[in-house]
């Protein structure tokens, strides 16, 4: 509504600066009708939005009805609840503690990210941010990466798959997964993050993620075995997880 009002104000302003006699008359603010006592009553004429074809001279112009707005972003509240659910049903403060981990370098506090995530601040009259921006994406990434790292630490340890929250599968011991083994495990993650089987995804997605796993493992293999951080297997699955939480399909709906 505000955007439409702004557009109308712009039209009005343009009409003012151009001052052409044949410019359309600016539309004044619609006035609810009033009775004799001045009370606003219900017999207000309905204002109907006009289509493009109703504007003189536009009757035969083809109309592009494709959506012009940006893709629909998952509301930040739903995103936070999703993080809480997907990563083990924790409360935000528990999740914050987990995200900070022992080092505290990956994540600070939720409050540091709220503005970037687009959370509205009603008290300060800052509206919900429904469009992505660089800061928002960086914040999404930071949280997602931290969550993935914590999930790798817990899920890829030896425990029954039913107790795992993200990597709900086992990995073969002492060797890399085969293509077929990767595909089945990729499907588990795909259903977790995107809500549908990997087989329904665009066909290039599986090989891309497969290659990502290989590349991440190879890069880690070039470092000393005692280098800090994850080993090659864990590092490569963490990177796959990063790719899911960074993917546009995760943040849009």
């Amino acid at each position: 509504m505000a955007r439409r009002a702004a557009a109308l104000a712009l039209v009005t302003a343009l009409g003012c600066t151009q001052g052409a006699a044949d410019e359309p008359t600016p539309t004044p603010t619609p006035t609810p009708s009033q009775d004799a006592g001045g009370a606003v009553t219900a017999d207000v004429p309905v204002l109907r939005p006009r289509t493009v074809q109703e504007i003189p001279g536009h009757e035969s112009i083809a109309q592009d009805t494709a959506p012009k707005e940006a893709p629909r972003l998952v509301p930040v509240e739903a995103l936070m609840r999703s993080y809480m659910t997907l990563f083990g049903g924790l409360s935000p403060l528990q999740l914050q503690t987990r995200l900070r981990g022992s080092g505290g370098n990956l994540f600070d506090t939720w409050n540091d990210y709220l503005s970037a995530l687009g959370v509205p601040d009603y008290a300060a009259d800052i509206p919900r941010n429904e469009q992505t921006n660089a800061l928002m994406l960086a914040a999404f990434e930071r949280i997602g990466v931290a969550l993935c790292d914590r999930a790798v630490e817990s899920d890829l340890a030896a425990m029954p798959p039913t107790q795992k929250v993200v990597f709900r599968f086992d990995l073969p011991a002492n060797r890399a997964v085969t293509d077929a083994e990767f595909a089945t495990r990729f499907d588990v993650l795909h259903r977790l993050f995107f809500g549908y089987p990997a087989s329904l995804a665009p066909p290039e997605r599986l090989p891309r993620f497969r290659q990502l796993l290989r590349d991440a493992a190879a890069r880690r293999a070039t470092q000393p075995a005692n280098a800090p951080g994850f080993n090659a297997t864990r590092a490569s699955w963490a990177v796959v997880c990063y790719a899911f939480v960074r993917h546009p399909e995760f943040h849009l709906y």
Partner: protein, 639 residues
């Protein structure tokens, strides 16, 4: 499209406990994504693998699944966000509800045993000693320190004599330390749950412990007048009618002159006044803070807005799962719960599928312990100021205190009770403190109603603004286009004071008042606070804000609610607001058919939100709301 699981995938799913019952009954990608959208909008999160597995079963009933979600708390939260996003019903510290009649500040003195003790007092407390009237109850001669009402202290604390200590102060067990504070001997001491993240009743540590920071406070020391519990007090006449000449030593070496007797006090020297009204506190030395000091808010310092309670700064997912919990100034306590009242009111409305028009017209509300305390004992503290010139000393409330649940105590932060009827002046969110604080002026209040509930905006016409002394904006060139509409709408709020919630009843404040008629070029000074000299004539004065419409002024916010919800634009606006929120984009002309359909669904569904949401979720526009680019749409692809 049919899909059969690869054997490996199925085995993994079975090991994780999320396997479908029928392996080849998997829906299309579009159906999965539709289900994901429904989960995000109705459950407030993405679906879990278990829910996706359930969705894949051939006997999955999507309609039943949707209907089940339309009764849940996340659904109510989803709809509430639509209106909270539009009205933004929170206020920050720029709205400092620091009402002197209710704020207890404290001064650190030395008791007769030379121990440091905090003594609570309120700045406006009337006392029958000129040395301490409306000031701290111990003079500099008695305590060694001189306390200014701006929070500064002179001198060094010295032990107070035992007889003075006993005569001027009292020890008691207050409401912020004891749940059973109304009992003769309270014993149920407050014990915040340190293991809980949720918002709960938690005074700051300084209120819970003695000055040593370790010893739990068992009772507090308070000035004797503040400890009084009577509901009414007799008007106090000090005999002071004028201030002494400048330079005259002030009694007790106090910083400021003691208060003078008001005109009302002089005219009503034997009257009894309510101790829950601000005028009662300012006119009677018999009005205290009530049983357990329940009419007053504690503060852990002498500052203007002292720290009092632990509350979150941010909780986008609600008070059960806040993102932090920190010590806050006492005024935040009221602001926080006012906002939560609106949240709970909207949740109740949408969660129980009440008539959406009740957002504006409903006389019901939701209260918990802190809100019950506020409406019962503190809301009247802002009344009645200069209204005493019109003999207005007993507040007529937007929320009648008698309707407040009597059994709720301030510690009941998580117990919410529905109040069916706040009283005849109540009107949905329009008469809630959070709305009236957020939108402080009559015009601001009218404007947000115009925006949020009629989906309209004021747009200035294209005319040259010329200098004018015309006070009537409905006729002044360049202003009239908007104000012809805005002023009559604003008039509905004539009887609610600006930046507050004090109601101005017609009995005391007739919209047209002959006593406030113009005399020469102005009106009487006592009229000026409430009557507008610009619109007074020789026969009557006009209540401020009523010039847009006297009828609307007398109809009040409830009249505005009735008028707005009767307009056809109201239901169209509800439909548009819901559609914009669920589609995640502004609507355009191409959406007019959708809005018409949704409006019809709302009206045919007796203005129940579920009927509207069901229609919206089944609309192609929602199913096709996509995360693909416009190019894909132009090429005819489905998302």
């Amino acid at each position: 499209m049919r899909y059969r699981y690869a054997a490996g995938v199925l085995a993994l799913m079975m090991s994780a406990g999320v396997a479908p019952q029928v392996a080849d009954a998997v829906p299309t990608r579009e159906a999965y994504r539709f289900f994901r959208s429904l989960s995000i909008d109705l459950q407030g999160r993405m679906p879990t693998p278990e829910e996706v597995a359930a969705f894949e079963r051939p006997d999955f009933n999507l309609d039943a699944w949707i209907d089940q979600r339309l009764t849940g708390p996340r659904y109510a939260e989803r709809l509430r966000r639509i209106y909270m996003d539009r009205m933004r019903l929170e206020v920050g510290s720029n709205f400092g509800f620091v009402s002197n009649p209710i704020v207890l500040r404290r001064v650190r003195v030395r008791d007769p045993n030379n121990n440091l003790v905090d003594v609570y007092y309120r700045r406006s407390q009337r006392r029958n000693r000129a040395e301490t009237d409306a000031d701290f109850c111990l003079t500099q001669a008695e305590s060694g320190i001189r306390v200014a009402n701006n929070g500064t202290i002179d001198g060094t604390a010295t032990p107070v004599a035992a007889d003075v200590w006993g005569a001027r102060t009292v020890a008691l067990r207050p409401w912020w330390l004891y749940r059973d504070y109304r009992n003769t001997n309270p014993s149920q001491r407050v014990a915040p749950n340190a293991n809980s993240d949720a918002v709960e009743f938690e005074p700051v540590a300084a209120l819970m412990n003695e000055p040593d920071g370790r010893t739990p406070t068992v009772s507090v020391r308070v000035c004797r007048e503040e400890a009084q519990t009577a509901p009414t007090g007799r008007v106090y006449l000090s005999g002071r009618t004028t201030n002494p000449p400048r330079g005259t030593p002030l009694p007790g070496n106090r910083f400021n002159n003691p208060p003078l007797d008001s005109a009302y006090a002089r005219a009503h020297p034997t009257d009894m006044v309510s101790c829950t009204a601000g005028t009662g506190v300012s006119m009677s030395d018999q009005c205290g803070c009530g049983p357990g000091l329940e009419r007053c808010m504690p503060g852990a310092s002498l500052g203007n807005d002292p720290p009092a309670f632990v509350l979150p700064n941010n909780m986008p997912l609600g008070p059960d799962v806040p993102l932090d919990n920190v010590a806050q100034a006492q005024s935040e306590w009221a602001r926080f719960w006012w906002s939560q009242e609106a949240v709970r009111f909207l949740d109740d409305l949408f969660g129980n599928d009440r008539d959406v028009r009740e957002v504006l017209t409903g006389r019901q509300t939701m209260v918990n312990g802190p809100l019950s305390q506020f409406y019962r004992t503190m809301a009247g503290s802002t009344c009645c100021g200069n209204g005493t010139n019109f003999d207005y000393v007993e507040p007529v409330s937007l929320f009648e205190p008698a309707q407040v649940p009597a059994d709720l105590v301030p510690q009941d932060t998580n117990t919410w009770r529905r109040v069916a009827d706040r009283g005849p002046n109540a009107a949905g969110v329009l008469t809630m403190p959070i709305f009236l604080a957020k939108y402080g002026t009559r015009r601001a209040r009218a404007h947000i109603v115009y925006q949020a509930f009629l989906c309209r905006e004021f747009v200035a016409e294209n005319v040259e603004l010329t200098p004018s002394e015309e006070p009537n904006l409905m006729v002044r060139s360049g202003c009239a286009t908007c104000h012809t509409t805005l002023e009559p709408l604003s008039s509905y709020f004539t009887r609610v004071t600006e930046s507050g919630w004090t109601f101005l009843p017609a009995q005391r404040f007739p919209a047209e008042n002959t006593a406030c008629a113009r005399r020469g070029t102005s009106i009487s000074g006592i009229c000026g606070s409430f009557y507008d000299p610009q619109f007074a004539n020789s026969t009557r004065g006009l209540l401020r804000g009523a010039y847009g419409s006297v009828a609307n002024a007398d109809a009040g916010p409830a009249g505005l609610a009735r008028a707005v919800t009767a307009m056809p634009e109201f239901s169209q606006c509800v439909a548009s607001n819901f559609a914009e929120s669920f589609l995640g984009r502004a609507l355009g002309p191409e959406d007019s058919a959708l809005v018409t359909d949704l409006t019809t669904a709302l009206r045919n569904g007796n203005y129940r939100s579920r009927a509207l949401v069901r229609a919206l979720l089944r609309a192609d526009a929602y199913r096709n709301a996509n995360n693909l680019g416009s190019d894909t749409w132009r090429q005819g692809a489905m998302p």
